[in-house]
């Protein structure tokens, strides 16, 4: 399989580019923000995503989806990134679907995801920095479990219909054994969400679980063996966040290169200044390398290869580095107007920062790779 999009994937990319570019460009985000939209995204747009079939990309054909893979999901996420489109696509149609695939709950949740009714959120992080540790408790209680603890950085958590919660049914905080993943519906009693607007205008919740009771069938996969499903969820989330970040970095680069071609100073187009040319060329190189790393990770995930998790960490770290550079150079090369809210480049910087942090930043993944390699 060559490391570029095949014909079908290219067609999907074109479709996604046209559709998202037209229906949800940066002005769409700006509108939601300025109207203080409390969902953090457009429910209409989410329905349209479903109509386009996007929400079913990772759902098997026999379950009513398109039966496609992470490459295809990434193609959509890249356009989401390029247009800074607020959307529950990453949490719902990518990470949650990946976790639910093959489990009994898919019958309950996939129809709503396919129809664009259902939004899922991921309650993983318990600290400000993503770590592998899960401390939140789930004790056995009657036929089910009782959840106690807190989660943060749960994007869409304040309105999500379904919340995937990683909790501990055995072992201690840093053990891999003893984690169980739960599918918790929004109306679960004892669960409270505090909605927090983030820098990029998205909304993430801080969730509290005070004796939240769930049935035994809320368990995804096996009790105490949730690390495997969690790995699947995280790999999908990380590859997806990488693809979205790639779009953010590419979008910022396009804005910047266009600006370099237009803006005049000292009587010349600033894009003719060699120092800026070299920096732009360096940025291009970083973005190309990141692009390759993301596609590699997606292809390995789709082929079920054992090296996929390394490749996913490489992709997440590399897009973090490249996209951070892209938005930094973007602001600097735009000069003063880049600092104004009126101009779009600042939105790219904000979104890049949030995505960089999601599911572990470049430093986290560089360290993880070192640990995997044994140094």
């Amino acid at each position: 399989m060559p490391l570029y999009l095949n014909e079908e994937q290219t067609m999907l990319a074109d479709t996604a580019k046209d559709f998202i570019g037209e229906s949800a460009p940066v002005s769409h985000l700006r509108g939601l923000r300025d109207s203080k939209n409390s969902d953090g995204f457009s429910r209409d747009l989410w329905k349209q995503f479903a109509e386009m079939g996007f929400t079913g990309i990772l759902i098997a054909e026999e379950d009513g989806g398109l039966g496609l893979g992470h490459v295809e999901a990434g193609v959509v996420l890249e356009e989401i990134g390029r247009n800074l489109t607020p959307s529950p696509f990453l949490t719902t149609a990518v990470a949650a679907v990946a976790a639910l695939n093959g489990s009994a709950q898919r019958e309950r949740w996939f129809p709503g995801i396919l129809s664009g009714e259902t939004v899922a959120a991921l309650a993983i992080d318990e600290k400000a920095k993503h770590t592998a540790g899960i401390a939140m408790q789930a004790e056995r209680s009657g036929n089910g479990f009782r959840l106690n603890g807190a989660k943060q950085f749960v994007t869409h958590g304040h309105i999500a219909d379904l919340i995937l919660v990683a909790a501990r049914t055995g072992g201690s905080a840093n053990d891999r054994e003893g984690i169980t993943l739960f599918a918790v519906p929004k109306d679960a009693s004892g669960m409270t969400a505090e909605a927090e607007r983030l820098a990029d205008s998205s909304i993430a919740a801080r969730l509290r679980f005070d004796g939240v009771e769930v049935d035994a069938d809320a368990v995804i996969g096996e009790v105490d063996q949730g690390d495997k499903v969690l790995d699947t969820l995280l790999a999908a989330g990380r590859a997806g966040a990488s693809a979205e970040m790639l779009g953010v970095g590419a979008g910022a680069m396009t804005l910047t290169v266009d600006y370099l071609k237009e803006r005049k100073q000292f009587g010349s187009r600033i894009g003719s200044f060699q120092a800026l040319q070299h920096r732009a060329a360096h940025l291009y190189s970083e973005m190309e390398v990141a692009h390759a790393a993301v596609l590699k990770a997606q292809q390995l995930l789709d082929s079920g290869a054992a090296e996929a998790s390394r490749a996913v960490s490489v992709a997440k770290a590399m897009t973090g580095l490249a996209t951070t550079l892209s938005v930094q150079e973007g602001i600097q090369m735009h000069g003063g107007i880049g600092m104004t809210d009126e101009y779009d480049i600042g939105f790219y910087m904000k979104r890049a920062r949030v995505l960089a942090e999601m599911f572990g930043d470049a430093n986290y993944h560089a360290n993880l790779l070192a640990e995997m390699t044994g140094y």
């Binding site: 600290k127 920095k129 943060q152 950085f153 983030l198 820098a199 100073q265 930094q328 104004t340």
Partner: protein
């Protein structure tokens, strides 16, 4: 001499101990803790801020090295250094910050006439008048030679028309020092440096909303503003000299921004608080720790550089273009610092409105620092200056 310095140190220590209110020894937490002075300053929630300023101003210590006759403390460089050391010793805040002190004052001392000095300097020293700076224009950017705001000679006054942009706190300032074009036949030669009251008829301001969500800058419009001729500083058509002199001071100020922190190290303390230490007593995010450690090397080296630069300036030994290096390095370092603060803060630091995050102060400050390397001459401009004026590399 040394005896004199030592006794000055002891007296100063005593006086500060007795006169700096306790609340003025707390770390600066945000913009509200910075006293910019001015007609519209509101001390209602913070009366000790005013008390402290007034006490310091009475001794001339808001501007310790200015001459006594203009409201300064008349201190030598050595005495000023001791005062600052003693203030730092008890974490005393800066009693008064303003563009009047850091920029206009030095320029007036050098280029102003006696009347201008007597009129304006004491009011700056006492925090009565807050100044803003009118340099940049919409189509000039880093290229001041394209300056278009015109000042027409009307006998006893100039008639000023045009538009400025990136005017810091123009909506809060009382007076403006401003570059205007008094001769259209040359580029840099036809610019003059004038002062006027922002309450003059024809002046209006419009804040610019920034990516941080703050509006520290304005667009400023001049519509037939009358500026008395006695408000011309330096010679007619020689405003460029004043501006360059003053830009040097601005660069110094910006390059020192956020680095002369008093007590503790918010980056490291914050990282430890959020991330914690591992069994070896190391920050539990090992790659971030290494980045912070390498940043700290440069940051501490730059503190030494700042000290050296100031000493060389005072000793008359600094290369005239050295402020460009300070501005470049200091602002780039400060941006790195805030990237590290964000990385240390994780998702907590991404919050934008919550009380917990002090209304997003980390994220907003981080975004604010991105302007450091743009305002007051971009990093690229500074690098050009270093290359040409210090390294004497050829022009293309």
């Amino acid at each position: 001499m040394t005896d004199d310095l030592e006794s000055f140190r002891l007296e100063t220590r005593e006086w500060l101990k007795a006169n700096v209110p306790q609340s003025m020894r707390e770390p600066v937490r945000g913009d509200k803790d910075i006293n910019w002075g001015g007609r519209r300053a509101d001390y209602a929630n913070n009366p000790e801020q005013k008390l402290y300023m007034d006490r310091m101003a009475e001794r001339g210590w808001t501007v310790p090295d200015w001459p006594v006759e203009y409201g300064g403390g008349g201190l030598s460089a050595a005495h000023t250094k001791i005062l600052k050391e003693e203030m730092r010793r008890i974490n005393a805040r800066i009693p008064l910050s303003s563009f009047g002190i850091s920029m206009l004052g030095p320029a007036l001392l050098k280029y102003g006439n006696e009347a201008q000095k007597r009129e304006h300097l004491p009011k700056i020293a006492r925090g009565e008048i807050r100044w803003c700076q009118g340099y940049s224009e919409p189509n000039a950017g880093s290229d001041l030679a394209g300056l278009a705001t015109s000042a027409e000679d009307k006998g006893d006054h100039f008639l000023v028309n045009g538009q400025k942009v990136w005017t810091s706190y123009a909506d809060k300032a009382d007076w403006i020092f401003c570059l205007v074009r008094t001769d259209k036949s040359t580029k840099q030669g036809g610019i003059s440096f004038v002062l006027f009251d922002m309450e003059s008829e024809g002046v209006s301001t419009k804040p610019i909303l920034l990516i941080s969500g703050y509006s520290p800058f304005c667009e400023t419009f001049f519509d037939n503003v009358k500026v008395p001729k006695e408000n011309l500083v330096g010679e007619l058509n020689k405003g460029w000299d004043v501006a360059k002199y003053l830009l040097g001071h601005e660069r110094e100020m910006i390059s020192g921004m956020g680095l002369g922190t008093t007590g503790g190290n918010p980056l490291i303390d914050g990282a430890i608080a959020t991330i914690g230490l591992d069994d070896q007593g190391r920050l539990a995010d090992p790659v971030l720790r290494a980045q912070i450690a390498l940043y700290e090397v440069r940051s501490q080296a730059f503190s030494a550089m700042s000290e050296r630069f100031i000493d060389e300036l005072k000793g008359g030994r600094a290369h005239p273009a050295q402020p460009s290096m300070m501005k470049y390095y200091g602002t780039e370092l400060n941006k790195t610092r805030h990237e590290l603060i964000m990385a240390s803060g994780g998702s907590d630091a991404l919050e934008w409105e919550s009380e917990r995050s002090d209304k997003g102060s980390k994220a907003r400050t981080w975004l604010r620092t991105k302007a450091n390397s743009i305002e007051g001459g971009t990093s690229e401009i500074q690098l050009n200056i270093i290359a040409k004026r210090i390294l004497e590399l050829p022009s293309s």
